[in-house]
Amino acid sequence: MLQAEPAARPLCGGTDLLVGLRKGTLRPPLVVDLKRVAELAPAIEQRDRVLRVSATIVLTQLIADERARAHFPALVEAALVVGSIQIRNRATLAGNMCNASPAADTAPPLLVYGAVLELAGLAGRRRVPLAEFFTGPGRTVLAPAELVTAVELPLPSEPLGAVFGRMTRRRGVDLATVNLCCSVSRSGVTRFAYGAVGPRSFLVSDETGTLADETAEPAKQEEVLRRLTAEASPISNVRASAEYRQQMLLVLSRRALDTARRRLAEVADAG
């Protein structure tokens, strides 16, 4: 079907696609409902040390999954603030990536956790790290007629403290002005993924151990945080100015770092 009509649009939750269809901003010649494809049946499976989330899994199912909650708590935190309950009952994790909104809330934690997307297309199957998937706002490396069939989440190989954070204009249902995920690992690697502060969500890291070390000199930590957040290239739009986003990114980064370090300590205590 996709071979005959490569411009066809796959449909899963439809919470973005239907808005585009109804507004007329998207006019695909054909829409293919992936929920009817047997191979893509909703499933979250653990194989070896990878949690595989099939393309039709909706956010509500991900949030309820014990393995996701145990190993990827920051992803569950992000999934909990996507849209409304009605949206989360319909919207899929894979679809959230394919839509490639720079403000997608699940993108930063997926980047921090090293998610890999499983793709299938006319040329066969391939696996693409999420960090290489987005090419710009609404744009990805997906070829015509190529689909994301699953999101693979490698289980963390060492204890990790991670947190999702975001800033919105109001409480409740809103798109992020800035969102981020921070993780600190026992071996001292700190990773940040930032959203809504550039054309795509992106990952930065500090492998020197400066940020992971609570006893490190505050001025040094601040210097590293400023260097990492300087990677952002926010724009001004209806939700905030570029300058405000850049400032808030630094504030949110400090807070997220504190929480991630505290969570790592809790994991270590429990272990």
């Binding site: 449909l11 439809g14 919470t15 239907l18 808005v19 269809l21 109804r22 507004k23 829409v31 409902d33 929920k35 509500t60 849209g83 409304s84 309950i85 009605q86 949206i87 009952n89 319909r90 409740g172 249902v173």
Partner: protein, 164 residues
């Protein structure tokens, strides 16, 4: 049948319906225009306001963002299915008793979200009620009465009033 029309079978409030729908028709439009079930409302048409909330296989969704063809073979529950004849459901009764209904436009969606919340969380806290209804907007601003109505159902107060 024209190429852009498909046959779908839906079970709506327990009754089976066979329909021919246009491929681009939303579930909301099919229910309203083909089946005359006009309780579910269209407002924002982009999944923000919740006026079109109904349940598909027990899950609350925005029916303005679901194609009728996607619902083929599914169980749909709409606001029309809550009352038993002239006897309103406890949630509907509580909305009236608490003065939660002003212009009324958002109310079917609010009631369906409340129904979904209480089906999962029979004794929600005040915070859980607010969270459970956060996908539904009321432009009259009657949120306090709406939340009170849901709390009254949960505490059993509404059932007592119904008995009287």
């Amino acid at each position: 049948m024209p190429a852009n029309v498909l046959a779908v079978g839906l079970v709506v409030n327990g009754r089976r319906h066979e329909l021919e729908v246009s491929v681009g028709q939303t579930l909301l439009d099919a229910l309203r225009d083909e089946l005359g079930l006009t309780g579910s409302k269209e407002c924002c048409a982009e999944g923000e306001c919740g006026a079109c909330t109904l349940l598909i296989d027990g899950q609350a969704v925005n029916s303005c963002l679901v194609l009728a063809v996607e619902a083929d073979g599914r169980q749909i529950a709409t606001i029309e299915g809550l009352a038993d004849g002239d006897r309103l459901s406890p949630i509907q009764d509580a909305f009236l008793a608490q003065g939660a209904v002003q212009c009324g436009f958002c109310i079917p969606g609010m009631v369906m979200s409340a129904h979904y919340l209480l089906s999962h969380t029979p004794q929600p806290s005040a915070a859980e009620i607010r969270e459970g209804l956060s996908g539904n907007l009321c432009r009259c601003g009657g949120y306090n009465q709406i939340c009170s109505a849901v709390a009254a159902v949960a505490s059993g107060e509404a059932a007592l009033e119904h008995e009287e």
